[in-house]
Symmetry: C2
Subunit: 552 residues, 2 copies
Amino acid sequence: MHTLFARHQQTLAAALKAAQERGYWSAYPEVPSGKIYGETAKDDGLSSYNARLGRPFDLPGHPATATVGTEVSPFGPPLGITYPAVDAITLVEASRTAAPAWAAASAETRVGICLEILARLNRISFEMANAVMHTTGQAFAMAFQAGGPHAQDRGLEALAYAFQEMTRTPAQAVWTKPQGIAEPIVLEKHWRIVPRGVSLVIGCQTFPTWNSYPGLFASLATGNTVIVKPHPGAILPLAITVSVIRQVLSQEGFAADVALLAADAPGAEITRDLVENDAVSIIDYTGSNSFGDWLRRHAGEAPLYTEEAGVNSIVVAATDDFAGMCANIAFSLCLYSGQMCTAPQNIYVPRNGIETNQGHKSFDDVAGGIVAAIDDLVADPARAAGVCGAIANPATLARIATARGLGTIIRDSAPINAGDARTATPLVLAVDADKTDAHEEERFGPIAFIVGVADADDGIAKAATLARRKGAITAALYDTNDNRTDAAVDAFAKAGVNLSINLTGGIFVNQSAAFSDFHVTGANPAGNASLTDTAFVANRFRIVMWRRPKAA
Amino acid sequence: MHTLFARHQQTLAAALKAAQERGYWSAYPEVPSGKIYGETAKDDGLSSYNARLGRPFDLPGHPATATVGTEVSPFGPPLGITYPAVDAITLVEASRTAAPAWAAASAETRVGICLEILARLNRISFEMANAVMHTTGQAFAMAFQAGGPHAQDRGLEALAYAFQEMTRTPAQAVWTKPQGIAEPIVLEKHWRIVPRGVSLVIGCQTFPTWNSYPGLFASLATGNTVIVKPHPGAILPLAITVSVIRQVLSQEGFAADVALLAADAPGAEITRDLVENDAVSIIDYTGSNSFGDWLRRHAGEAPLYTEEAGVNSIVVAATDDFAGMCANIAFSLCLYSGQMCTAPQNIYVPRNGIETNQGHKSFDDVAGGIVAAIDDLVADPARAAGVCGAIANPATLARIATARGLGTIIRDSAPINAGDARTATPLVLAVDADKTDAHEEERFGPIAFIVGVADADDGIAKAATLARRKGAITAALYDTNDNRTDAAVDAFAKAGVNLSINLTGGIFVNQSAAFSDFHVTGANPAGNASLTDTAFVANRFRIVMWRRPKAA
């Protein structure tokens, strides 16, 4: 058994069990505590991050003919880091050159190496937190969790599924076919895992590691080489990741180029060149539907796994905890300023209001309750900054400005008093479903619509239909009526949306937990794949046989 | 538990075990024996077949606005059967109307129904044999096996994989996340299987059931409705299949239109209309690479599973059983007149000959040995007819005529003295790899090339390279050198071809056994999927969740 596989096999076994049972489990602690990560870990991580600023990123042996890098922290300062850059053809050729030995390694060897990579990534979670924070705009605590342990958990989950699929078919078998009274025909058969080839992982700016790790580790584990194409605005987290992968590969005697970084410059992206290269045989993508459509037309024979955009909805039908509901919704809208793919945008409320534990609440009461909860959450600038973080992309501020004209402003967006950071609290608009469809487009960022509908059934129908048409990754319902809840469960299932019901307290519709929640269903336009299930890993490799008569 | 599931669950359990172990197993006896199928089964099957001739095919309740049907037996007579026909939009709408109840049924219910369908198809294997024989041109024994029990085994294999995937994730779980000294967060989570929608199965003329059953049963079992689009020349086997499916569905209280027949006329195929319909959400296809390319461009978001064309090769490097080798190759070339997707076309032989148990054999000796074995096999017309069957498509005869000019004819093709049947024994051409590439195109039918190469290594390299470029489903090697065999195993694995080594006696490179051989690797242009593995079934449905705080 490979040393690294032996070292980490208990983690793998626990991950396989967790993925099977789908209760709560995590391999990598989400609490940024010195007791867990070491008393100096926080300071060390910051130091390591600071040491990377203002200089070329060191990727020994990585192909390069130029440098790129224009990252600017949403919290203010430019990072000043440059990365090795090279054209798509050179990247693909380097990847193919590194491929044969990696493809020939055993599943245990590759999975052992991937487990070691994850363990090392876990150890530098504080450094990664700073890197994610200053490229995405996530507040530190979220950047630590989502960029570090949660992303690592998702990578491990993909690894566990990949290992299970690779070991499902025996390496060999004897096939003995009876021939009546004659001697049977006896063949020995041997199967091996053959990877597809070069795997391209196209990252996004907001969750550079969390969204990329599943595809990255699933492809690596199944023997493919990987080219990681970060968003030009969030290169550093994936550069650090690729750096760790290359270190472990080299130490284990494999070519570092099994993992390559395809850094590029805004406006001069090399993504299309990579996709159109025939050697690129798997594509993982997080991003817009429009580029997703382009990928579908140009991916050729490469399996394509996407997470695209959608419009997430909440239907407010009734509640027995009005305050808890408003607080929960407010937090979901504020968290990372609505820049999560799981963040709600539309809140459907009956025009005649709803029944609650505080008695009847009119449409305006409900809207007002949510707005008041937002105001409460962001009243203290330090707390607001800790929840909302910063705005990753200046275009989001422009989108907020445009959105102001789309309905009745019941809460305006405003900057948080947070130094140089680019910030914005939620803009909340009231609209009526019969009078506009402005809310039916995705308005990425801290923009929410309280949408008046005829009644709860109407809200459920409209939210589910919108999910089916435009895609949705999450939906939420607040209701106290069991029959209506059952109907909503059916409606959202048919629309391919995961539904959260009556969340209050410390759990939010935005949250998707590895080993339990399948992130994205793959059943509506918000994405064609799920993180992480069998379908996500099983087609990244093929099984090839040889057979011959078995010697007597 | 559903009654039908209970009735057949031992078959399912045995299939799951067989697919896991991949030794020899079969659920449906391949021997067309009265002892197994009933002493009158053969006559009854022929009577049932004859009763269908010359009249409209009865599919009660099937949508129809016209009739089509121009099938002519390759053995002579027109079938004279007409089938209900209707446009693509009507078919898709009928399919969607039937969908909700089928999607809502439990996995056990659907799988139980599919198992019952297979059991009933098995009982009418003699009727199916006649239907397959007189549409494909397969000789009776092969039509019985490949069209009946072997196809049913492949359907069962797909069903077993589908059941395993649908039951891998629990229907519910409790997620309990510790919160330090505070109360944990406890959610109940519920998952359900959501089918993709309408599944289109595009059949081929030569193996209408064998190639269609895996996709058909995988899609049905996972809750999709199915539209079966037969080749206009081989409608009857799939019409009978759809008829049985509709009978069982109706008896079990589901809409018969869960399975529909998309019969059409040559030159007026409705395939493209079906593919371009947005509701068509899964496509299974067996056919040409050119239409495969069209499908890749037009399938949109529908997962596409293909078996396309390729060029299969044998490399003759050395043998310790020259006579056995020649006889085995000869049978592989003659069987169903080379119209199997697994039939070899190119036989690479070193120009300087090979070493054998009969001493050195020159290139001409090897070619002559194979030709003599073919001549021996087809010398008796009755035996020849039993092995070669008939030619499915007149275009194949034209192809033979054209091919005569592509090399030195060392054995000419000729009709078999077999009444009105359209027949042709193998055309064998000698060519030199340095002087032509005529053999590098697929020449579907009884056309073989003995290809002179520098040596065995050269033959292995050329065969593997061709497989990678043009696709191949099978490869074979005859060799006595272990090192060279190991290298060949590597080369063909990298080319994504299943390799058979030193086959002699009653087992042939053409044969692919359910539950053991993965048919097509999906790793070269001969197809993007395999019958049947996890990847073939796992993306035919999606998993959707709802979750809520668990009541204390």
